[in-house]
């Protein structure tokens, strides 16, 4: 939800900025550095959306060849892929954290607004950390499903695209 709010905020910033630019003759002005805000907001929103996608089983898979394999083998594959996903999320979070520390030690700032780049990294890092935690939860959820053979723990499937 925080990610959604930020996406809407980015939308509003952009629209206000266009209106500002269109009305320069009337003494208004576009928001300076609006695209820097949008970039930072998108990065934050996207990483905040990752755990949601994982929770709702939103990632695209090709189901063609294993639909006939039965419930149990498929549930075991889910455990394996969720474990792998947790590993990937862990690596992403770990490297993002180091990347943030780099940016902080260099004191890098954005071009127009001059706010430190590591702030945006820190925002994105929160999403990545939650992503890792949710991945770990889905491992547990799929283990439970493999044991009982039933769908568990909410997160109804939401159609892709």
């Amino acid at each position: 939800m925080a990610g959604g709010a930020v996406l809407i905020a980015a939308l509003i910033v952009t629209v206000v900025s266009i209106v500002g630019r269109a009305l320069i003759f009337a003494g208004l002005a576009p928001i300076p550095g609006d695209f820097e805000l949008v970039e930072a907001a998108t990065a934050f929103a996207v990483l905040a959306f990752m755990p949601l996608c994982q929770f709702h089983r939103g990632h695209v898979t090709v189901d063609l060849f294993l639909t006939r394999a039965g419930r149990r083998p498929n549930a075991l594959i889910d455990v394996a892929t969720n474990l792998a996903m947790t590993g990937a999320a862990g690596v992403i979070t770990w490297r993002l954290c180091l990347g943030m520390l780099d940016k902080r030690s260099y004191g890098e700032t954005t071009f127009i607004l001059q706010f430190p780049v590591w702030w945006s990294y820190a925002g994105a890092l929160v999403g990545a950390a939650v992503f890792t935690l949710v991945c770990a939860y889905t491992v547990w959820r799929s283990l439970d499903e493999a044991k009982t053979g039933e769908a568990r723990g909410g997160g109804k499937e939401i159609g892709a695209q």
Binding site: I18, V38, L47, F49, M50, L52, M85, D102, A124
Partner: protein
């Protein structure tokens, strides 16, 4: 093993993982990650890359257009505009032979102008048009087939999420790509209508008749679709005229569609929450694939496979058309099992360098636009071909009384129409490029 061999081996491994139901983004990420390790012989390059790669990919200004277009599609789905579009198309076309089905296709095309996703278009128009088609006595095969096919117009008629991704991958101008897709998109809609006209004449029992609507009713229905036209004109026109960047255009479009949905009462707090969750899940899915593809393509670049493949194909001296046809055939085959976006992200980095060294008598930029539009159409055919045609599933799930085999059969004439259109567009690149040449 040489770098090149590593690059080649990555395909079967990747496909194997994907067919074992590993999420496509994760499979690309893993193969790319370990592949880079093998090619460079050290963990340091890939780990150093990962420090900034995630943030840089997700904060890419051009990519921020994607969640905004998705949000716009979500608002459009809830905004009641699908009903107005169908009503307008139906009063004008409904009395013809097969007219209600033609109206469904026309309404899909109109909806595609504010929605960049095929599944959403098929699902939204299906809800509105399917009951009407059944009411006027259209057969299950024709009703579900024409809606599944009409849904693919969602992605062909701009704005289109897949075209945005293609534009970023090949460094093309997004708005020029949108312009290039416009005429083929309209042709697609006309082709589908023609298919319906032929279909109902060959199988007279498959469609019923409807009384012609009066002129007053027609005009009222037409006036009701003005928000759709206005949003489309402002977004596409505004980007073209340079009022705003494509990302800003998407923001304006999303805001506009949101306001219309709000005015129509289609957007309660709960609806807003659902729209955002839907956007969030799709965004997460798409960006994870984008991240995986970025890592995988980095590995491919290290292995030098794309350049080598391009040099090799150029030195083979076979006809460029043969190469192009083989590539399109590849897309058709994979389209049967994979979704369009993953396919584009996975294959364009390899196929595009190959195609760009071939000579079709077009400048490189025009070739890129032409190739992109044709690939998009071919990839979309996968949505209406068995066994994994997502549009067929979506529509079939709404019409419980129609067996899936009938939906397959109903979609086949439209697949044929797609094939004919691809052949025409291949033979006459001017159809695709004419509008771009005219405007720039």
């Amino acid at each position: 093993m040489s770098h090149l061999e590593l690059g080649l081996w990555s395909f079967p491994i990747l496909l194997g993982m994907i067919f074992l139901r590993v999420p496509i983004g994760l499979a690309m990420l893993a193969v790319g990650f370990f592949g880079t390790w093998l090619v460079t012989g050290s963990w340091i390059p890939i780990l150093a890359q990962m420090k900034s790669l995630t943030y840089d990919t997700f904060s890419n200004y051009s990519l921020s257009i994607v969640p905004l277009f998705l949000l716009m599609g979500q608002f459009a789905t809830r905004g009641g505009m699908s009903r107005a579009l169908f009503k307008a198309a139906e009063t004008w076309l409904g009395h013809r032979k097969g007219g209600v089905a033609m109206a469904a296709v026309g309404a899909c095309a109109g909806f595609g102008a504010i929605c960049g996703s095929s599944l959403a278009t098929a699902a939204t128009m299906g809800q509105v048009a399917l009951p009407e088609l059944r009411r006027y006595g259209y057969s299950g095969a024709l009703a579900t087939g024409c809606l599944a096919a009409g849904g693919t117009l969602g992605i062909l008629i701009p704005p289109s999420v897949v075209l945005v991704i293609y534009a970023i991958l090949t460094e093309q101008n997004i708005i020029k790509l949108f312009m290039a897709a416009m005429v083929p998109g309209v042709l697609a809609a006309l082709g589908y209508m023609l298919t319906i006209a032929i279909y109902v004449r060959l199988k007279p029992g498959s469609a019923g008749q409807r009384e012609p609507a009066g002129m007053g009713e027609r005009l009222t229905a037409l006036v009701a679709v003005w928000p759709v036209l206005a949003i489309f004109a402002v977004v596409i026109g505004g980007i073209y005229l340079g009022w705003f960047t494509p990302t800003e255009g998407a923001a304006v479009g999303a805001a506009g569609t949101g306001l219309v949905a709000l005015a129509n009462g289609g957007l309660s707090w709960r609806g807003l929450g659902e729209a955002i969750t839907g956007t969030a899940v799709s965004t997460g899915m798409i960006f994870f694939i984008v991240l995986g593809a970025t890592v995988y393509n980095g590995f491919l670049a290290f292995s030098q496979l794309p350049q080598e493949a391009a040099t090799y194909v150029a030195s083979m001296g076979v006809s460029p058309w043969l190469v192009l046809l083989s590539i399109l055939l590849c897309y058709l085959v994979f389209g049967c099992v994979m979704d369009s976006l993953s396919m584009i992200l996975l294959t364009i980095p390899i196929f595009f360098p190959i195609v760009s060294v071939l000579d079709f008598g077009l400048p490189l930029e025009e070739m890129a636009l032409w190739f992109g539009v044709i690939v998009l159409i071919v990839v979309e055919v996968g949505l209406i071909t068995p066994p994994v045609g997502m549009n067929l599933f979506v529509i079939n799930a709404m019409a419980r009384e129609v067996p899936l085999t009938q939906t397959y059969a109903g979609a086949l004439p439209f697949v044929l129409s797609d094939m004919i259109r691809v052949a025409i567009l291949l033979l006459f690149p001017t159809i695709t490029l004419g509008l771009v040449r005219l405007l720039y």
